[in-house]
Every structure is written in structure tokens, then in C-alpha cells.
């Protein structure tokens, strides 16, 4: 179910929309706790089914003409699952609603293009997301000469927020006298802030050397955690 309001402002070349939504979810899947997925000959036994809902509000602004064009969007949403099976092994978080693995309450996107002159334009792409849910141990235990992480409820913490900005500069060579094609040079920086956004965070214990019982480590794994420059040349016949 969704309800929205759309408004066009021709004077400012702006489109504005606000939309709320609510969706009932059935047959949602989540992983069963403590069942390996890798090389599992019965992967269906590693998955549980339940129900849930997704709800939220989206705000969208677009400008499609003028020197500055692009759009901004912001979404506030919640996605919740409930998995209440017949026994503890088929139940997650005691059968209560909990944040789905892809739940991101705040999502902000910005895509902007600014025309410096007829040949050169600047572009900007910005992304901000809340971190997705993660399950951290609430305690450590000493069992079997190992430090064992103790978990209670699933998805009660979040990864650090995701923030990325990309910029680009495009120089166009229009079809003209003696030129049989159009071409563009594009220079861009992906992730210009060089931010190491977390793909995952995991905790590790030292399994064999009980003397170092106090050392526990958490690691952040980042993919594309650097500024990535690129140059491209495009030909349009």
C-alpha cells in the first residue's frame, strides 16, 4: 500500500514527490543460527521462513533543466522480519520482530550535474546509508580453553554508516567541421573521500592459546576502500 503526493514546479523546473508505503511480507527467509552454509548438502535446512513488513517515507526532488540538473532523494524506512517456528531452533529472537539483514533506515542519494560551459560539465554523486544490521556478541565465555562469543538477539547493532562521494569532469568534443563523430573525455574520482566503508565487521578469538585469554579482536572488512581515479574516452558515431 502506498500513498504519494507529486508536484511539478515549472518555474523552477522542479519535480517534488513525497510517498509513504507499507508492505506486508510473507514467506521471508533468514538463516538459521549456527548452521553452516558453505558446502552444506542440505542448504534448505539452513533457511527459516517467516513474515514481516516494510514501511517508510520517500522524498524525491528532481531538476531536469538549467545549468544545474540532477536529483536528491531521502528515504526513511524500516524492514522487520518475524520468524516464529515450532521450536527454539526454528525461531529467531524469540519470535519477535527484528530488523531484516538489509534494513537501512536512512538512505540519502544525490546526483548533480553542473554545466560549466557548452563543452565542460561537472558531476557529483553522493550516497549516504545507515549501516546494515549486525549481530555482535554480548559477552565472552571461557569454554574448552577457548574464548567463545555469546550472542543473544540477532541484528541488534549496526555497521558504521556508509558514506561515499564521487566526482567527475566531462569534456565533450562536439561533431563539427572535419569531425565525423562526437567524443567525450571523462575524468572521475570514485570514493573521493577515500572512506573505508565497512562491508562487514567480525570478531575473532584466539582458539588455541588459552594464556592469551584476554585478547579478542574485531576487524572491519572494506571493499573499494580507496580513492579510485579513472579516465575514459567515449566515441559516439
Amino acid at each position: 500500500m502506498s500513498l504519494g503526493y507529486f508536484h511539478h514546479l515549472p518555474g523552477a523546473a522542479l519535480e517534488v514527490s513525497v510517498e509513504g508505503f507499507y508492505k506486508w511480507l510473507t514467506g521471508v527467509n533468514d538463516f538459521r543460527g549456527n548452521v553452516p552454509l558453505l558446502l552444506n548438502p542440505y542448504p534448505e535446512t539452513a533457511v527459516l521462513q517467516g513474515d514481516g513488513f516494510a514501511r517508510g517515507l520517500e522524498v524525491f526532488i528532481r531538476r531536469s533543466s538549467g545549468l544545474l540538473t540532477g536529483w536528491l532523494s531521502y528515504t526513511f524506512s524500516q524492514t522487520r522480519y518475524r520468524i516464529a517456528g515450532s521450536g527454539p531452533a526454528e525461531t529467531v529472537n524469540n519470535g519477535q520482530y527484528y530488523p531484516a539483514g538489509h534494513d537501512r533506515p536512512h538512505v540519502f542519494n544525490a546526483v548533480l550535474n553542473y554545466k560549466l560551459n557548452s563543452r565542460i560539465s561537472l558531476s557529483f554523486n553522493g550516497v549516504y546509508n545507515s549501516g546494515r544490521p549486525v549481530t555482535y556478541p554480548v559477552a565472552k565465555l571461557y569454554i574448552g580453553n577457548r574464548i567463545v562469543p555469546y550472542y543473544t538477539d540477532r541484528n541488534q547493532s549496526r555497521l558504521p554508516d556508509y558514506l561515499r562521494a564521487d566526482i567527475g569532469l566531462t569534456i565533450s568534443n562536439p561533431r563539427g567541421s572535419g569531425r565525423r563523430f562526437e567524443s567525450d573525455w571523462n575524468f572521475s574520482l570514485y570514493n573521493m573521500l577515500g572512506r573505508r566503508n565497512a562491508y562487514s565487521i567480525y570478531v575473532q578469538t584466539t582458539p588455541r592459546y588459552a594464556d592469551y585469554y584476554n585478547i579478542v579482536t574485531a576487524y572491519k572488512f572494506s571493499v573499494l576502500g580507496a580513492v579510485i581515479p579513472s579516465i575514459s574516452y567515449t566515441i559516439r558515431l
Binding site: N34, Y142, G144, R146, Y150, S222
Partner: protein, 343 residues
């Protein structure tokens, strides 16, 4: 296509990274944690109660000891055995007490005015270890010149589902009893032991399990339980213990293995609450974590012939000997008591 794929993977690897991160995990309420196994081997049995701590480097599970708890074991004939507390959360059975195969045992723990009771646990018999054998494995890039991997075979009884757990202990004549560096020098000296002394190493921290699910009633073979480093030519003493497990206990140890083995990949085992068999008699009260394990136990002592290694043993660092000896101090890593079956 393949080349492009690998180029893509390589470029992703080049800009991905793993770095330490502090998720600021603070310890909340402390859970009592039980660990102990009752067997049919001679006692006394030592059970432990520890307390959980926050998952960080500031808190330790040994910061605070369990004090004032009681532990009582009862069997299916209502015979009660009280375990003695040393005041630090370690409990010992009477010396002459011993588990009996076929009996069912229930453990009752009281702590801070709460009572916890285990599920009744049957002491299931276990088949003896049939064969112990080794295979030499070279380890490229390692500082030991390979190792002898130790395997066991067991003839699994057909009648019921069986789960196995192994552990081992290794004794080695101590070369020295003390290393020290006299002040003003940068030479490390070793002091020989004044009496017979053995260094001890154990399988502590390893989880060695098997189920007979695929071989029920036939031979459970090739279960890797230990490794003897190729660092000497002397026979390698190994005492291997084999214990029976209930299905629940097997799953409990598998869960611990999974919980401690995650490395942040998409194939990680999704975490779950570690479920034990000790319950608060007041169902709304806080839990007591851990598992009261009841197992039959068989042991086998073997000597591994390391002369068969295809490569020379790794020469361990030798320190010059000092002209006086040092006492053999009893600890969990060293003993002056001759090991069973030592020759």
C-alpha cells in the same frame, strides 16, 4: 572472460582491506558459565564455574571469581554427591567417586539464591580406540620440517547413534627446567632439572568430534586427532582419550566450533545463542550457560616413531647449560610424576 574475471578480482583485492575496529562492546550483566565432564574414568572430577565478561580487551572472564556457589550431583538411584568448592569457582568430587555407565546424572547448582538444574544425562558407553596410525606431512614454509599426523579408527557399535570426542596429552622429558639470562649479559642459559621432569602439552582448545551418521555400525576411520612435530627423533609419547557424547553435547561442541571460527566472509555461520543443558528452575530467571557433559572414556597410549620421517628433524634452539640445576615445579605444563606407560 576468465582473464577479465581475474583482473576484476585482483583489482578488488588491491583496494580492499581488513583493519582492526573497536565496536565498543561493553559487558552488561555477567552470566555464570559451567564447564565440566563426568566420566567413568577414575576421579576426582573437576568442574568449573566462571563468569562471562564483555567482549572486549578490557574485561576478562577471570576478573571476578564465582563465590558461594554449591554443586550437587544426583543419579537415577537418588544418590547425591556434593562437590567441594575451592572458593574460586573450582569444584572437586570426592576422590573415590566415579561415574557408572548406564546411570543417569543430574547436576544441581545454586548461585546467588538461584537454582539451576541440568537435564538428566545418561553415561553412554563408548567403544575402545581400535587403531592409531600416522602419516607424515611436510609443511612447506613452516619452521618445523613436517609433522606426523595422528589418526584413529574406531569400530562403531551398530545399535545406536554414537558421537565421539577426542583429546590428547603429550609428555616429553624436559630438557631444562629454567631459562634465565644473568644480569649484564645477553646470553640465555638453561638449567637442567634436578630430578626427572616432563613437559606437558595438551589438546586444550581443540575440538575433535565425530558422528557415526555416515558409517553407523561400521568402521569410523581416519579421524585426525593430533600431530607430532618432526623436531626430534625420539619416540613421541601420546595418550589419546576417546569419550562418548550425547547428540545434544555433540551439537553444543559443534556450535562452539562454529562460533569461534567465523572470519567475516559471506560463508560465515550465522551466529546463534549457545544453548546448554543447565536451566534456571525459575524459568524467567537469568540463564546459566555451559553444558554438563557425561561421557564414558577410553584411553590409549602410543609412541610415534619419528625415525621414519623422510626429512631431517627441525633442530630446536639449544641454549648453553648453566652449571647448577633447577627444581621441577609442578604446573599444568610440567610435572615430576612419571606419566602412565612411560618407557
Amino acid at each position: 572472460m576468465t582473464v577479465r574475471f581475474w583482473l576484476l578480482i585482483l583489482s578488488l583485492l588491491a583496494v580492499s582491506c581488513v583493519e582492526p575496529y573497536d565496536p565498543q562492546l561493553k559487558g552488561g550483566s555477567k552470566y555464570p558459565v559451567f564447564e565440566g565432564t563426568l566420566t567413568d574414568a577414575p576421579g576426582p572430577y573437576r568442574f568449573a564455574l566462571t563468569l562471562s565478561a564483555g567482549y572486549n580487551n578490557q574485561e576478562s572472564v577471570f576478573d571476578e571469581r564465582v563465590k558461594g556457589a554449591t554443586m550437587t550431583l544426583s543419579d537415577d538411584r537418588n544418590r547425591r554427591t556434593i562437590f567441594l568448592d575451592d572458593g574460586r569457582g573450582n569444584f572437586s568430587s570426592p576422590t573415590d567417586f566415579r561415574g557408572e555407565p548406564g546411570r543417569t546424572y543430574t547436576l544441581t547448582i545454586t548461585y546467588q539464591e538461584l537454582t539451576y538444574r541440568s537435564d538428566p544425562e545418561l553415561l553412554r558407553p563408548v567403544a575402545p580406540i581400535d587403531t592409531v596410525y600416522t602419516r607424515f606431512q611436510s609443511i612447506p614454509g613452516s619452521n618445523i620440517n613436517g609433522e606426523f599426523r595422528v589418526f584413529v579408527d574406531v569400530n562403531d557399535p551398530a545399535a545406536e547413534e554414537n558421537y565421539y570426542q577426542w583429546d590428547w596429552i603429550h609428555y616429553e622429558k624436559a630438557d631444562n627446567c629454567l631459562l634465565f639470562r644473568p644480569s649484564g649479559t645477553n646470553v640465555t642459559y638453561a638449567q637442567r632439572c634436578c630430578s626427572d621432569c616432563w613437559d606437558i602439552s595438551r589438546s586444550a582448545g581443540q575440538i575433535l568430534l565425530a558422528s557415526d551418521r555416515l558409517v553407523n555400525g561400521r568402521r569410523l576411520s581416519g579421524q585426525r586427532v593430533a600431530a607430532a612435530p618432526n623436531d626430534d627423533i625420539s619416540p613421541f609419547y601420546l595418550r589419546i582419550g576417546q569419550q562418548s557424547l550425547s547428540r545434544e553435547a555433540y551439537q553444543y561442541w559443534l556450535a562452539i566450533q562454529n562460533l569461534t571460527g567465523n572470519v567475516g566472509s559471506v560463508f560465515d555461520v550465522p551466529p546463534a545463542t549457545l544453548a546448554g543443558n543447565l536451566r534456571n528452575t525459575n524459568t524467567t530467571g537469568p540463564p546459566l550457560l555451559g553444558y554438563f557433559q557425561v561421557s564414558a572414556r577410553r584411553e590409549k597410549i602410543v609412541y610415534i616413531n619419528r625415525l621414519r620421517a623422510p626429512v631431517l628433524p627441525f633442530a630446536i634452539t639449544q641454549f648453553p647449560f648453566w652449571n647448577t640445576c633447577a627444581a621441577c615445579t609442578e604446573s599444568s605444563y610440567r610435572t615430576g610424576q612419571r606419566p602412565d606407560g612411560w618407557r
